[in-house]
Symmetry: C2
Subunit: 393 residues, 2 copies
């Protein structure tokens, strides 16, 4: 048996392990230090009452013969697909139920979708980048090109005259930089992809944080996108589902390459290598899109966004350069005095007892940047900003 | 962008669609007919009380800040991995926690594990076969060889002097034939795989139906298997989790090919392309392995097994040839008078109002066979057997 030796080419990924070790070591030496963790992109607020109620109801369904659910449709139950169809309709995006696939999270689908693409495609990702886009393609042996995302383009790379490639990853609002494409920019991307017969993989995991009408929630708000894009979204950030696992992927029926319809291929992939998401989870997910549920999750998002504003205000006052913090749970802070990101990490940990994520973990262009997230309590966020003011003033 | 054209080589899979159409059409013409469905391998009995209680408890955990769970470990929570470790220990199989991976079902893991293997491996499957083994490899473009499973070997193919290949799929107790390898046969397979440096993918999804000490529940009961086998199992059949989605995969730390440890590769694959199983689901799954839970699920299995015995007794009385029905939820019935399986399907549907699965859907060697499952009520099973007696006597 021969192993897939592409795995030997993967770069060791010790970013969060390294962070954990440094934090643990500091905490051991300073047991009294009250460390505030603003590094990882995990949520902290419990599921909203509408979701909890729906989950309990679904568990009850599973306890009785008359309402028990065995194997469900691999693409998801229509009650949830219809709810998502309605959610897009509010953004003036018309989807057919067949366009919508329920999965166990955006990370799974972003990885597994690659099954549909030939190995000799060239993949184009931004730098800095969410590492999953890179690693999943290294595993398959695809060629990867990088687009510079930096201060000069506001961390929003655009197609250039010499840009080539087959599969383009766009994440907007972006992880890690918090930057988000506006309508005009996304239109340029869609036009470019259609001309090049390229495919855009659009990661909309943070769309719920958008409250600017000029920033699209979905790439399908752009005319022509149905001919060149697949969109991934998840309830992880929308409704605190990081531990519940439910996402959705939009594969328009128009997408055809080499005479093969990607939508039909994805149906085949999912019916063969997946068995659908838990009925219980899907009932909880559907509750997110109810009137009550959506109000409750938006209250939580407003809470996180308030944290983002508190951080943004602090860094503005300090005259620091940053991206995000607006339509995004992330702030992408330029380290002061050309500090490198791991040095700034150590400074923040030791002087302010704050944990963030060093930008170099996301690529060369993150060398002098630092990611902070707003997924914390307001109290901790306020406290963290007071500490920041003291050490960075 | 170039699509993965291997998808164009997939055989259209209309087995269950065809069945559904024929049944719907018959029911429409005969609205009074009381059709008994014994075709599909889905369970019908609700989740046991211990699981329901654990699920409710976990939902409550997710409603409170103090007990809320966000991202969990991709390989599964230790509380569940430890429970599975204990389950194997009862079979005298010692596993480390690192060997055990929690997933969302055996179908996902059986498909996704292929990411770890080079594309130029030769894959060997039995005929008849669970179609997922074939289709997942066609998608990747691997060469596939078939081993004859037929009456001459009791539908249990063994390695022969001229058997070659890199990756061997063994499913025991088998879907669709119900046949199960005994200890001596599995020992031969393990010795063969070690000599050939081949890998066995062992599908143990139906192990809970085994009650014969000579038939191993796990391939790891066989000495040496840790050097040549990966095992897949699931709670779908064990505990009625077909709609809840939880399985487990054992990748021993000893497995090394081309200098790459499959266990570490699978860790990397799952941390990159998967985000773990729902906390709620894992709490429900752990309850299956509690003393109370295990007693409750075994009562359900005993109920299904009683159905299998009722069927086996009927076919014995009728002097028919069949496999399975013992240590398995499936009966693999030889169609009488050399009938082909779709003709027998039509006969059973029209004359007895019973739906089974035509064996030809699983491969050439299923041409004259018919799969029946015991996942029905006892009342329906008894009624179905009365009808069978009438038409086949």
């Amino acid at each position: 048996m021969k192993a897939n030796t592409n795995y030997g080419k993967l770069q060791s990924s010790y970013l969060f392990t390294d962070i954990a070790h440094r934090v643990a070591s500091y905490q051991k030496e300073n047991p009294e230090a009250k460390i505030i963790r603003m590094g990882i992109g995990d949520v902290t607020i419990p599921l909203c009452p509408a979701v909890i109620e729906a989950l309990h109801g679904a568990v009850e369904d599973m306890s009785k013969k008359e309402t028990f659910h065995g194997y469900g449709p691999e693409q998801g139950y229509d009650f949830l697909r219809s709810a998502i169809q309605g959610y897009y309709k509010e953004k003036n995006v018309e989807l057919s139920l067949a366009d919508i696939f329920i999965g166990d999270g955006a990370k799974s689908d972003v990885g597994n979708i690659l099954d549909l693409f030939a190995l000799d495609n060239t993949v184009v990702v931004p730098d800095p980048v969410y590492p999953v886009y890179v690693d999943t393609n290294v595993m398959d042996g695809r060629k990867i090109l990088y687009m510079n995302a930096d201060e000069s383009n506001g961390f929003l790379p655009m197609p250039q005259a010499d840009t080539t490639g087959d599969i383009f990853y766009l994440c907007s609002p972006n992880n890690p930089t918090g930057a988000a494409y506006n309508r005009e920019q996304l239109t340029q991307w869609v036009n470019f992809a259609r001309q090049q017969k390229a495919l855009i993989l659009f990661d909309a995991a943070y769309e719920i944080f958008i409250d600017d009408p000029d920033i699209p929630h979905s790439i399908f708000e752009i005319p022509g996108a149905r001919e060149c894009a697949i969109e991934f979204c998840s309830l992880s950030k929308t409704a605190g589902f990081t531990g519940v696992r439910c996402g959705y992927t939009i594969v328009p029926e128009e997408l055809t390459y080499d005479g093969l319809a990607l939508n039909r291929m994805w149906v085949r992939r999912q019916t063969t290598k997946f068995n659908g998401v838990s009925y219980i989870t899907q009932k909880g997910a559907a509750a997110v899109f109810s009137e009550t549920g959506m109000k409750q999750v938006k209250d939580v998002i407003a809470y996180y966004k308030e944290n983002g504003k508190i951080m943004a205000k602090t860094f503005e006052e300090l005259g620091m350069v940053f991206f995000g913090g607006y339509c995004s749970p992330y702030i992408w802070l330029k380290c002061p005095k050309d500090m490198e990101s791991w040095d700034f990490f150590d400074l923040m940990l030791k002087e302010a007892n704050i944990v963030g994520t060093p930008g170099s973990g996301f690529g060369a262009n993150g060398k002098n940047f630092f990611r902070l997230s707003s997924f914390n309590t307001k109290e901790n966020t306020l406290e963290a900003m007071e500490r920041v003011k003291k050490i960075l003033k």
